[in-house]
């Protein structure tokens, strides 16, 4: 790589690296690194910016000069999308699915993880292995029979038909994250609570639950993001059902909109950029949690 050679020559071996660079302010000695950083950031953000800016242009303008900037800026596309019931219906559907899935995963997951982590009984090990083995069964493999199963249960085409399987498929990860978390809470706490006359369930409610909040938040964020971005399950369960497209979740709604209005590029760009906003906003709020979760995942 050219990168490495220029760095090597830029910092000869006899030039010792400073012990602590943090306090030294700007390190202008490495413009190349800044160039790389700039290019990477531009490539990452460029297409997103293009979509956002395109939403402020007219389709005629876009057709005349696809790479230009908005001139003049028009708010019509955004206003149309924001004024449409369809967009808000899509958002509402996504919110229902994500909140339902997250709540389900957190509640069902912590209950099971509590037992696996802190009860002593025969089959505990087997139970844990069973749930972890679930990682080997991706949704893709189960998707077709799942759709048929939901039909039999009368859940096909409904939000519950997406929420319930989403909870089930999020359980392995959830339990794998929560069990070590719950186990790390010292036994002495439980003994003290028991001496004070608290039942085990009382211990769970009053002590364990508050202490395991960080783990629950991590699990919840993962479930929320997974559900919000999910496409395959809604495609199979909802788009083939009877719900009107005004009540489809965003990923389905956006693809549907872009197919229907493929001639009106500006409208599609506006719809797409508005569909991006919730995920971006959520990421800004939960950034620490998401990236922190990643870092936790690779600490070995």
């Amino acid at each position: 790589m050219t990168a490495t050679t220029s760095i090597t020559t830029g910092r000869p071996a006899d030039d010792l690296p400073p012990r602590r660079t943090a306090g030294r302010g700007i390190d202008w000695g490495q413009p190349f690194v800044y160039l790389v950083a700039l290019v990477v950031a531009a490539v990452a953000i460029g297409p997103v910016l293009y979509v956002f800016l395109g939403g402020f242009r007219t389709t005629a303008d876009l057709n005349a000069d696809p790479a230009g900037l908005p001139d003049p800026w028009t708010l019509a596309n955004w206003a149309n999308v924001l004024g449409s019931e369809r967009f808000w219906g899509n958002v509402l559907a996504s919110v229902i699915l994500a909140v339902g899935t997250t709540a389900g995963v957190v509640i069902v997951g912590i209950m099971a993880a509590f037992v696996i982590a802190r009860y002593d009984f025969r089959g505990r090990q087997g139970l844990y292995t069973l749930f972890t083995a679930g990682l080997m069964f991706p949704l893709t493999v189960a998707a077709l029979p799942l759709t048929l199963l939901l039909r039999t249960l009368g859940l096909h085409g409904s939000y519950l038909g997406v929420i319930i399987p989403s909870i089930a498929f999020a359980l392995p990860t959830t339990i794998i994250i929560l069990v070590p978390f719950l186990r790390a809470i010292p036994d002495e706490l439980e003994e003290a609570a028991s001496i004070d006359g608290t039942s085990r369930i009382g211990f769970f409610w009053r002590i364990l639950l508050p202490l395991s909040m960080p783990g629950l938040v991590t699990v919840g964020v993962l479930a929320f993001v997974g559900s919000w971005n999910g496409y395959l399950l809604p495609l199979l369960v909802i788009s083939t059902g009877t719900l009107p497209q005004e009540l489809w979740p965003l990923p389905l709604g956006v693809t549907q909109f872009s197919t229907q209005y493929s001639q009106d590029t500006a409208a599609v760009l506006a719809y797409t950029s508005l569909a991006m906003i919730p995920a971006l906003a959520f990421f800004l709020v939960a950034e620490r949690r998401i990236v922190g979760g990643l870092q936790g995942a690779v600490k070995g």
């Binding site: 660079t21 009984f121 893709t140 029979p145 496409y231």
Partner: protein, 332 residues
């Protein structure tokens, strides 16, 4: 993607723990049993009913020739059971064989191109930089977007009259213009580019996180001994980054084999059939939209075994040290 990510972490953190519960009086044994059933019951029912059962059903259905939206009784009808014929048909189908090839092409391209690229960029950025937090946020943006929405954005950019071609034109590179997603000879590579855009940031952030765990003292000591920047990276940093690289590679491979959303959304069905079909898109196409649930289920089972084989082989070859006992040994 995010979901598959976690297993590695907590597993390594899960050390031996004291066995709880011995100090309770025997009389509460019945009560404990009730508590266990009530607490684990919901999770167990959901998991068995909606994860394990469908997978078993897929294996059963794959042995039948079934009409779309069939009823259970129809399994008993004569001539429905076809044995392994669906599997035979899958491996005889040029489309499906090509789909497997496409999955593996994306798998190897990800490992060989995205991997070194992410490591290189992470090594360069692993130093005090002005605006490092902002940079990290920006790099991560593509990963946060839904695959479907990112795919649609790129689909618009890559239209013949879209932004990418227009930009090439204005840079005087008009001869490079392509019908990116509609030309079967390049559609797969266009797709790979979009996937790289979407997931490179994730890889870089992961590598940067891994680099935080590499002690600075080692590099300093090596520098004092006269090692060059490149020698330090090559002989100290990259080897110590090993566990992160191996886990990233694992996630990347599983993701490549399960690839669905991006292909389904960005490439038109006709072009997809010719050039960019993956196992998952072929499965959904045949099983759901072409109304052949039996055949689709056979594809699902094949997809499952291919993923499992890749995961096991990789675990044996590379991940063994990192995940020692993570899934196989369990709680203890």
């Amino acid at each position: 993607m995010t979901a598959t990510l976690q297993p590695a972490g907590p597993a390594t953190a899960a050390g031996p723990a004291p066995t709880p519960g011995r100090r309770r009086p025997r009389s509460s044994a019945a009560r404990q049993r009730i508590e266990i059933v009530l607490l684990v019951g919901p999770a167990l029912i959901l998991f068995l009913g909606f994860v394990i059962l469908p997978v078993i059903l897929a294996a059963v259905y794959s042995l039948y020739n079934l009409p779309p939206a069939f009823r259970w009784e129809q399994l008993a009808e004569p001539d429905r059971f076809v044995g392994l014929a669906n599997y035979q048909r899958a491996f005889d189908s040029p489309e499906f064989v090509r789909a497997i090839g496409n999955n593996f092409l994306i798998l190897f391209a990800s490992l060989l191109i995205q991997g070194p690229l992410a490591i290189g960029i992470a090594l360069l950025l692993n130093r005090p930089l002005r605006g490092r937090t902002a940079l990290r946020l920006l790099i991560f943006v593509p990963y946060v977007l839904a695959e479907v929405i990112a795919g649609l954005a790129w689909k618009l950019l890559l239209q013949p009259e879209g932004g990418v071609n227009a930009m090439l034109e204005s840079l005087g590179l008009g001869f490079l213009q392509q019908n990116w997603l509609a030309d079967p000879s390049i559609a797969l590579w266009t797709l790979f580019w979009i996937l790289t855009w979407k997931y490179l940031g994730f890889a870089i952030i992961l590598m940067l996180a891994g680099l935080q765990g590499v002690p600075e003292e080692l590099a300093e000591a090596a520098a004092i001994d006269g090692a060059s920047w490149w020698q330090i990276q090559r002989h100290i940093t990259i080897p110590l980054l090993g566990p992160t690289i191996r886990i990233w590679a694992f996630l990347s491979m599983i993701g490549a084999l399960q690839l669905f959303d991006m292909v389904w959304v960005t490439v038109a069905p006709t072009v997809r059939g010719m050039a960019t079909e993956t196992m998952a898109t072929y499965m959904v196409q045949q099983g759901q939209f072409a109304g052949q649930p039996g055949y689709g289920s056979a594809i699902a089972v094949i997809l499952f075994f291919i993923s499992l084989a890749v995961a096991l082989i990789y675990q044996r070859l590379a991940l063994r040290r990192d995940l020692a006992g993570a899934v196989t040994r369990g709680v203890r």
